[in-house]
């Protein structure tokens, strides 16, 4: 099916199943421990050997010698794989650095060996006996000091590296009210609870990996490319994923080393990447330095907007596209955006939940708050005044839906924004300084080609198969809802099978496109099944009504079981997209409201209340969508207040590489959270009229917290995270 014109009325609009706040269909499996995660595929791959990864001990340089003698002689050791004995290895299209390093070391904790042994403990113990000598080389580890060497990156996911409209310099110079400020965001880690983990097994020249991966198709392709084998010889199975946040979009060392280990020892090998390695061995969200200049008329119309962002990555890497949202969020005739990418020898940067917008909005939405204050305007009203219904860089492109104003207004009313004192540092509750902050949220809605297979068996049961993944988002559930709605059956008549590369290729889970795009693929397949059913039963395809497990037309009714017959029916289809996303700008919108209390003595910030109002098309399942948004809001609080990979600029690595020292919010940090979804459909997006929502929830949260801290204390912090040391010098003196 090709989606080329806006959706009209279709079976999804019945909303008997879709749009309902249903429990996750995979919930009981997960709460009873019966959902097998990658490392737990005991039945699928019995009698595995265990791999333990050795990570490089330097940030950049070469291995001068490696002595495996003692380790090989250790009890239980079956094999040790290094770059020297692994055979020829290529590099995956989605990898920047090699997954098995040596002799050249590209970053700290780059895998340089895997020790395979009979037990995990033996592998771990022997790994400590691998003796490595290095020649360290001088590397670049400090973004601030190499920023000016940054080059214009090539065009990637985040659009062109530079854009310009009108004459920014002239308009900015002429603007009666100006803001010119620089903001920084630190390197951050996905810190998902399930580590990267894989069991690999070979049967002849065919490889099967049970792994934890968001993008089955990418994983198959990059495994095949890295090993130099045919894609058809790689099967990737990833039915359950314990969190990914972008950290599991790619083939990583656990999967490659398990495959190499299994080939060497001729039996299955399982590897869970050690927690201490995860942060430096895998990808992270890169740090940014962002300069924002805004020019406005005295009555608050933005006339000039410039956003420049610097980030770093290993040679061949990509920028953090932190200027993306600034191209779209506010009106203004004269505009400039630019990204620069410097070479750094830190571990490779890549996507983390809302790449680009998450750190970009952290800066932009403070800048907007600062500008509103300079203008003496309420920050909600300032945003509303500068709203646009068209792409400001290409005014011929309208937004498919844009209800940012309604998000802001609804939020202001529900949150009690009118109780905020616009003058900072005025509201006290005992020793606490109280403040409220607001930020807009924008995250683009991407649509991706996605295929599915749908089977109807003789009992009338539906089975959906697609290589889509569920990273905790609720994919199983919204796909089941889509199939049940389209085919007129109850949810318990649908089984969804995901995460297997033998299933049709889906869009995968990333960029908040997963829910809408994968369900649209399932919709296409279900519509094809409807056609097959009417053809087989001789019922009129145009009149047929699918409801209550039956298809009816012209006064005749046939149960789906009967229609299936003994052989059943099976169809496959792919949802593809025309150019609606070129003609229209598709984005999701929101408004975040936050109240904080800052301890006037210690500068500790505690979030008191949070509200997100989201306009993100049809919400396929308000319960799973809400979970996504509150999870993203929680992550936004982490980004605002505590998350920072600390760079050792001399030795070249992220020092706080465990969950004790890389702090993410705990329950005590997170207060009452409320989420409101505007009642919306977007027929430009897909037949489901839905959009993404899982990343929208984090966009802007950090800035809303920062703006609330400013409102509470009068201290403007432009460097995240906003830890107490950045506040205490400017808080009221203590007796």
């Amino acid at each position: 099916m090709k989606f080329e014109t806006p959706a009209t009325t279709n079976p999804i609009d019945q909303l008997k199943v879709v749009g309902q706040p249903l429990d996750r269909v995979d919930g009981p499996l997960k709460t009873t421990g019966k959902a097998p995660y990658a490392y737990e595929q005991h039945e699928a791959a019995p009698n595995p050997a265990y791999g333990y990864v050795v990570g490089a001990a330097i940030g950049k340089g070469r291995i001068s010698s490696m002595d495996l003698g003692q380790a090989k002689a250790a009890p239980g050791v079956l094999a040790i794989i290094t770059a020297e004995n692994a055979g020829k290895l290529d590099k995956g299209d989605h990898n920047t650095a090699k997954l098995l390093g040596g002799p050249e070391i590209q970053h700290y904790h780059q895998a340089i060996a895997v020790v395979v042994a009979e037990t995990f403990e033996q592998a771990r113990s022997a790994a400590q006996l691998v003796r490595v000598k290095y020649e360290a080389a001088k590397g670049s580890f400090d973004l601030a000091s190499v920023k000016d060497s940054g080059k214009k990156p090539k065009e990637g996911f985040g659009g062109p590296p530079e854009t310009a409209v009108g004459d920014f310099d002239k308009a900015f110079a002429a603007a009666p009210v100006q803001l010119d400020a620089t903001y920084t965001t630190p390197d951050q880690s996905h810190a998902m609870i399930e580590p990267h983990a894989t069991i690999a097994a070979w049967e002849g020249d065919k490889l099967t990996i049970w792994t934890s991966n968001q993008m089955v198709g990418w994983g198959v392709g990059d495994m095949a490319k890295t090993l130099g084998i045919q894609k058809e010889n790689v099967r990737l199975i990833s039915p359950f994923i314990g969190g990914g946040f972008g950290g599991k979009l790619f083939l990583r060392a656990d999967a490659l080393l398990a495959a190499l280990g299994a080939r060497a020892v001729k039996r299955p090998v399982k590897i869970a990447l050690q927690r201490a390695l995860m942060i430096n061995n895998t990808t992270h969200r890169p740090a940014t330095i962002q300069r924002i200049r805004l020019g406005a008329t005295k009555d608050g119309q933005l006339s000039a907007i410039a956003h420049e962002s610097w980030s770093g990555d290993l040679p061949g890497g990509e920028p953090e596209t932190a200027v993306s949202q600034t191209r779209l969020l506010y009106a203004g005739a004269n505009r400039l955006t630019a990204m620069r990418l410097a070479e750094l020898d830190l571990p490779e940067g890549n996507a983390m939940r809302a790449p680009g917008e998450a750190p970009g909005m952290m800066a932009l939405e403070i800048a907007v708050d600062e500008m509103a204050e300079k203008l003496g305007m309420d920050p909600v009203e300032f945003r509303i005044l500068n709203d646009t219904q068209v792409d400001p860089e290409k005014p011929e492109r309208p937004f498919s839906q844009r209800r940012l104003i309604e998000c802001l207004r609804t939020g202001a009313e529900k949150f009690g924004w009118d109780k905020r004192n616009a003058k900072p540092g005025q509201t006290r509750e005992g020793r606490w300084l109280m403040g409220m902050g607001v930020a807009a949220a924008l995250r683009n809605n991407l649509v991706m080609k996605s295929a599915a297979r749908v089977k109807l068996d003789k009992s009338g049961h539906i089975t959906v198969e697609t290589d889509m993944t569920d990273i905790g988002t609720g994919s199983y559930t919204v796909i089941a809802q889509t199939a049940a709605e389209t085919l007129g059956v109850s949810l318990d008549k649908v089984t969804v099978r995901l995460g297997d590369s033998t299933f049709p290729v889906s869009c995968g889970s990333g960029g908040q496109w997963g829910g809408n795009s994968s369900s649209s693929g399932v919709y296409a397949a279900c519509m094809k099944l409807r056609a097959a059913i009417t053809l087989k039963t001789g019922l009129s395809a145009t009149e047929a009504i699918f409801a209550d497990g039956k298809v009816s037309a012209g006064g005749r009714s046939v149960s789906l079981a009967e229609a299936a017959g003994d052989k059943g029916l099976e169809v496959e289809d792919t949802m593809e997209y025309g150019d609606l996303d070129k003609k229209f700008q598709q984005s999701t919108f929101g408004a975040h409201y936050v109240e904080v209390a800052v301890d006037s003595f210690t500068g500790e910030t505690r979030v008191r209340r949070m509200l997100a109002v989201c306009a993100a098309g049809r919400i396929l399942n308000p319960k799973t969508a809400r979970s996504q948004v509150i999870g993203a809001m929680t992550m936004g609080v982490g980004a605002a207040l505590m998350e920072e990979l600390k760079v050792d600029k001399k030795r070249g690595f992220f020092v706080n590489h465990d969950l004790a020292s890389y702090e993410v919010p705990v329950h005590a940090d997170i207060p009452h959270q409320e989420v409101i979804f505007l009642d919306e459909t977007d027929p430009i997006s897909s037949p489901l009229k839905a959009k993404g929502v899982g990343e929208l929830g984090i966009c802007g949260v950090g800035a809303a917290v920062a703006n609330a801290i400013y409102n509470a204390t009068g201290v403007r912090v432009r460097d995240y995270p906003i830890t107490l040391d950045k506040l205490i010098d400017q808080l009221p003196a203590v007796a």
């Binding site: 990570g55 001990a57 330097i58 403990e121 771990r124 113990s125 400590q128 201490a276 020793r431 301890d599 003595f601 210690t602 500068g603 500790e604 505690r606 207040l641 505590m642 600390k646 760079v647 050792d648 001399k650 030795r651 020092v655 706080n656 590489h657 465990d658 004790a660 020292s661 702090e663 993410v664 919010p665 705990v666 329950h667 005590a668 940090d669 995270p721 830890t723 107490l724 040391d725 205490i728 010098d729 808080l731 203590v734 007796a735």
Partner: protein
């Protein structure tokens, strides 16, 4: 983890004796710190002596009117003890400010005193660390040191002691009772129990080889207002940037010990004389010789401000 042998000790004296017979042996009780460190091969004991069966798990009154806390009393039980909550509130509050419910259920009184630093370089076996590998150097001095010590530091080590409980014990002037391998016992004032790093940061306490902690005793109650104020980047489950244990009397006199700033709970009795003159005056004496890094210089100011909060709370109470 290196292979090790294991035994269950029958008595405190037998445990201490066994430790002498097995060089490099370690006692294990709750295991909340030791087992993690063994998995990372930061601790590599050849022999473990399990002391959990030694029945050192009672809290009893002392003839002097204090409390004797068995070495194996779990942190959860100690924090919840009615006498501790009534007479030594600062201790109860310090305990519940630390770790998590699960960890406190396992962690023991003696083990809490003996936990190792959380300096990230101590945990990364690729990096030099004088505490982990004496003589190898200190990576933290010119590395990431925001969490680390500001006072009592040496060129060899700027690690902090991570315990909350120990800070409260220091303000209460507790004593540590031990038994030595020869069967003799001794009592060590908490002030003398932990060492400053100097040139030997791998030596963290004054315990002799094989010496086993059997109890911690608290002198008779001090009265006053008991406060434990812990400051950290997240609201729970984090080590202190700075913590203050304080017992403040109605007349404004009192005692103050600081955590998160040194290799041991930091207390300067002379500084307490400044209490009536406020937080700034006390802090100036308390941290007179502070040598912070660029990363953790804020802790000097933070101590003053946390102490300000403590004194304000005491006044209000």
């Amino acid at each position: 983890m290196k292979p090790f042998t294991y035994e269950r000790a029958e008595s405190p004296a037998a445990a201490a004796g066994a430790a002498m017979r097995h060089p490099g042996a370690k006692f294990v009780a709750g295991g909340t710190n030791l087992l993690d460190l063994m998995k990372l091969e930061i601790e590599e004991p050849m022999h473990l002596i399990d002391v959990n069966g030694l029945q050192l798990d009672k809290i009893e009154p002392t003839p002097e009117g204090g409390l004797r806390i068995g070495a194996l009393v779990r942190n959860t039980d100690l924090a919840a003890d009615e006498r501790v909550r009534r007479d030594y509130g600062v201790l109860s509050r310090a305990l519940v400010a630390g770790a998590s419910g699960q960890l406190r259920n396992m962690a023991t009184t003696a083990g809490n005193l003996l936990q190792r630093t959380r300096c990230p370089y101590f945990y990364d076996t690729n990096q030099p660390c004088n505490k982990r590998l004496p003589g190898s150097g200190c990576s933290a001095v010119d590395g990431a040191s925001r969490q680390l010590a500001i006072i009592g530091v040496s060129e060899a080590c700027i690690a902090t002691h991570p315990s909350d409980m120990a800070v409260a014990l220091r303000v209460l002037d507790a004593s540590v009772e031990t038994i030595l391998p020869d069967g003799t016992t001794r009592t060590i004032p908490i002030a003398d129990f932990h060492r400053l790093p100097g040139d030997t940061p791998h030596l963290e306490t004054v315990l002799q080889p094989g010496e086993l902690i059997t109890a911690v005793t608290l002198p008779k109650p001090l009265g006053g207002t008991h406060i434990y104020h812990k400051v950290r980047d997240r609201a729970s489950y984090a080590f202190a940037l700075v913590s203050i244990a304080a017992v403040i009397q109605r007349d404004g006199s009192g005692r103050v010990a600081v955590g998160g700033v040194a290799h041991k709970p930091w207390r300067v009795e002379a500084a307490e004389a400044e209490l009536p003159r406020g937080a700034k005056a006390v802090t100036e004496r308390l941290l007179a010789d502070a040598k912070p890094t660029k990363d953790n210089a804020f802790k000097v100011k933070l101590v003053e401000r946390v102490l300000g909060a403590v004194l304000a709370e005491a006044k209000g109470a």
